[in-house]
């Protein structure tokens, strides 16, 4: 008579659980979602629309770049690095070339250094423009995307004229440059600087004082400078939290110490500050380009580098300030023509760790804003 199973089957009090009754809802955003910038998968734990926590699932774009390096010579691996952060391919190339140069104890000649700086800074502007367009699009402003892409085109044209490629440029060689600049390079760069300055004001006009933009970005995704350092976050995200750390100033590479520029920092570490920091960075990059293009020295573009590179046994770590943060290369040489191990420290991968901290307690719509403001490129996260 008192069969517990029979009783429980008659228990009409048991609520019919649907996803609306649940006090914690787990939803899966991505890997195919328009706002995750590629193939990022985010598992969100939600209470209503409030984020309780999240987990990033990565690896959908893994190509084994680091392993490939072990089976290629130093020169052959160079084009592969362009495919990591494909929006800032020139920076990736610069980091790799400088790391190998350090291993070989050679230095690129001054002329090459200047041209490297110009191209890298142009690429920084292009990367920030792409970030701005997609970030604004995620928040619902569709027009900035078209403005930034129109202006980014001018940078890509310069790249194309210089080395024939627009996106994955492979612009530099170990020891300097492969190509001498084309006739009219300086004029093109100067024209671009004059062209893009009012355009940056134009982007700011659309967004900086826009009420809705302010409401969507202020106090959203706040992260403190301490948390940034603890998580290893670098680049504009770190600087927007008030930490004045830029490798171009802190550990000058190439010939950045010859140029006069400022490091912008934010106060609140929110999405709006990160936006402002990147806008100022674009202007500072223009300043560097202006100085560099005025002072390009004459001379060779390649240092004396052996045809078959056999760096001495040893290891080297070299990092540069990529548009997204610190991009480091750790290379171990066993004295052969191929690196024994290449380890890349990509800024996007490390910065992505901060997503959880930045999103807790925010709303779902803010997760999209925060993914945008972190400026991640999945090619670099997954490698």
């Amino acid at each position: 008579m008192t069969d517990p199973n029979a009783l429980s089957s008659l228990d009409l009090e048991t609520p019919d659980k649907t996803f609306l009754d649940a006090n914690e809802l787990v939803i899966n955003m991505g890997p195919q979602h328009p706002a995750t910038h590629g193939v990022l998968r985010v598992i969100l734990r939600l209470d209503g629309e409030k984020v309780l926590g999240l987990e990033c699932v990565i690896g959908y774009l893994h190509r084994g770049v680091e392993k490939i390096a072990e089976n290629r010579t130093y020169t052959m691996f160079n084009p592969y690095v362009d495919r990591m952060d494909y929006v800032a391919a020139v920076s990736n190339g610069l980091g790799y070339c400088e790391a190998v140069e350090k291993l070989l104890s050679v230095e690129a000649p001054p002329r090459a250094q200047y041209i490297r700086v110009i191209l890298t800074e142009l690429n920084r502007i292009a990367s920030h423009q792409l970030w701005l367009g997609t970030h604004a699009l995620d928040i619902g402003a569709i027009t900035p995307l078209f403005y930034t892409f129109r202006d980014r085109e001018e940078i890509l044209k310069i790249f194309e004229k210089y080395c024939g490629a627009r996106l994955t440029t492979h612009a530099f060689r170990i020891g300097g440059l492969q190509y001498e600049t084309y006739a009219g390079f300086e004029k093109d760069v100067k024209n671009f600087v004059a062209f893009v300055k009012p355009k940056i004001d134009e982007y700011e006009e659309l967004l900086t004082t826009n009420r809705i933009w302010l409401e969507r970005t202020k106090k959203v995704g706040v992260i403190s400078g301490k948390d940034c350092i603890a998580l290893g976050v670098t680049g504009p995200v770190l600087r927007a939290s008030g930490v004045k750390w830029d490798i171009r100033k802190a550990q000058p590479y190439a010939n950045y110490k010859n140029f006069d520029f400022e490091i912008p920092t934010g106060l609140n570490g929110d999405t709006y500050d990160r936006y402002l920091v990147r806008m100022v960075e674009m202007r500072q990059s223009l300043r560097i380009i202006e100085q560099a293009v005025e002072g390009i020295p004459e001379g060779p573009i390649m240092a004396k580098v052996p045809k078959v590179m056999k760096p001495p046994v040893g290891e080297v770590y070299h990092s540069i300030e990529a548009p997204k943060g610190e991009l480091g290369y750790f290379i171990v040489s066993d004295g052969s023509t191929q690196p024994y191990r290449v380890r890349v420290r990509p800024p996007s991968f490390v910065n992505l760790q901060a997503l959880d901290v930045m999103c807790r307690g925010q709303l779902v719509a803010d997760v999209i804003a925060v993914i945008g403001t972190l400026d991640i490129v999945l090619g670099e996260v997954d490698r």
Binding site: F19, P34, G140, A365
Partner: protein, 430 residues
């Protein structure tokens, strides 16, 4: 037979709307005219939105189907009709089927009382504005049922957002409307009106559009309505139900083909409907601009030429662009088509200079021109603004617009009550 002709002709001498006069024949004709006009307006709006938005965003927009993409909306409509009509297996079939019809019905029915002119309306209801607000809020029902019947997460969340948003903004909208109704009662008899035609006639009698009445009170009311109507129609920057970066397509995610096109049609006709309310209530409906500063028969004549001039200008634009078309033989048909379109527009323009025609279309023209200005605003918003977050949207509705609307209503009533005594007092003091 004779009585039928008499019945038809009997209305022509009347100075009422066919509905009010009780003439079924002309009422049917007007219904058909409004339906056709609205469909054309939606098609034109589709093309204009793409083109204007494209030009704001430094691109060209549709250019391939027809000259300057003029046939693109028709091609799209054909494509939607020919598409497979998918109904999700888990969907509630009957409700899924009914939902788009509720939305379309609500969006089209409101045009029964929209006054395009003193007699150019299907009917003149004595509760016209209530009818419009009531029927247009029925579309919430269609949206909720659409989201529910799809039996899927994203449409359900989209539908919940939509209905919450539309219901909250209706409150602020209603308060702004009431402030106008208070203004209509400022006459000798002291009786206000809810009739759409009556509201415009009240503006005519008081020699001012209600947007300028009791400056800045009328303007504030207009502003509240202008914000609420964008939220009411789920358009940018309040397009959360359709926030594609979060919810793919909102409540109509599971709809495709013809059913989806009904939602599209309803969205655009709802935009035209709320713009018509705003024009009727604040911007003087069919009245021409500057009736006080530029009055007299000469100015009346000048303003009555505007419809013809507009169409001639549009025709001239077509000819100009036809002349600029590439001279390649492949573009021959397009060039001829564009020139032909221009010729038709120019011909309409010429016809509109004939006194008989221009007296009849003058009011319709001014009404349409004002509504068109609102349509442009809608597109402009979409090109400029980011999207509000849901809690911020609710904050704007309940914490800003609603209190402002309440204060506005009290101030408007006070201003109407004190207007004459204060004028008397000022005369006495000065």
């Amino acid at each position: 037979m004779r009585w039928l002709i008499d019945y038809i002709q009997g209305y022509l001498s009347s100075n009422q709307t066919p509905g009010a006069a009780g003439n079924w024949f002309w009422a049917t004709v007007y219904v058909l005219l409004v339906f056709v006009g609205l469909s054309i307006a939606v098609i034109a709006m589709n093309w204009l939105e793409r083109k204007i938005l494209a030009h704001m965003q430094v691109r060209l927009g549709p250019m391939r189907v027809g000259p300057h993409g003029l046939l693109q909306p028709i091609a799209d409509a054909l494509k939607l009709l020919l598409k497979e009509d998918i109904m999700p297996a888990e969907a509630d079939a009957v409700v899924f089927w009914i939902a788009p019809f509720i939305v379309v019905l609500a969006a089209f029915t409101v045009f029964v009382v929209v006054p395009f002119g003193p007699t150019h309306a299907i009917t003149d209801m004595n509760i016209g504005i209530l009818f419009m607000l009531g029927v247009s809020s029925l579309s919430v029902l269609g949206i909720v049922t659409a989201g529910w019947a799809s039996n899927s997460h994203y449409p359900l969340i989209g539908a919940l957002r939509s209905s919450a948003q539309m219901v909250s903004y209706e409150v602020a909208m209603g308060l702004a409307v009431v402030s106008v109704i208070v203004m209509t009662s400022l006459n000798a008899e002291g009786t206000g009106t809810l009739s759409m035609i009556g509201i415009v006639q009240a503006q005519q009698a008081q020699h001012t559009w209600f947007v300028f009445k009791f400056f800045p009170l009328g303007l504030v009311g207009f502003f509240i309505f202008a914000v609420a109507m964008v939220a009411e129609t789920n358009r940018a920057p309040f397009d959360l139900p359709e926030a594609e970066s979060e919810l793919t397509a909102g409540f109509h995610t599971e709809y495709s083909g013809f059913r989806w096109s009904l939602f599209f049609l309803a969205e655009y006709s709802a935009m035209i409907a709320v713009s018509s309310i705003a024009v009727t209530l604040w911007l003087g409906g069919w009245l021409r601009p500057f009736p006080n500063a530029l009055n007299g028969p000469t100015w009346d004549l000048v303003f009555s030429l505007f419809p013809g001039i507009t169409f001639l200008f549009l025709g001239a634009m077509c000819f100009y662009n036809a002349a600029r078309m590439p001279k390649h033989p492949l573009f021959k048909i397009q060039t001829i088509g564009l020139a032909g379109f221009g010729a038709v527009l120019a011909l309409i323009g010429l016809v509109l200079f004939v006194p008989a025609a221009r007296d009849r279309v003058g009011d319709i023209f001014w009404f349409a021109a004002k509504v068109a200005a609102f349509m442009y605003l809608y597109i402009w918003y979409r090109g400029t603004f980011p999207r509000y977050r849901f809690d911020q949207l609710m904050k704007v509705g309940w914490k800003i617009l609603l209190p402002t609307g309440l204060v506005l209503l009290i101030l408007t009533a006070g201003a109407g009550f004190l207007e004459d005594p204060v004028k008397e007092w000022l005369k006495h003091v000065l």
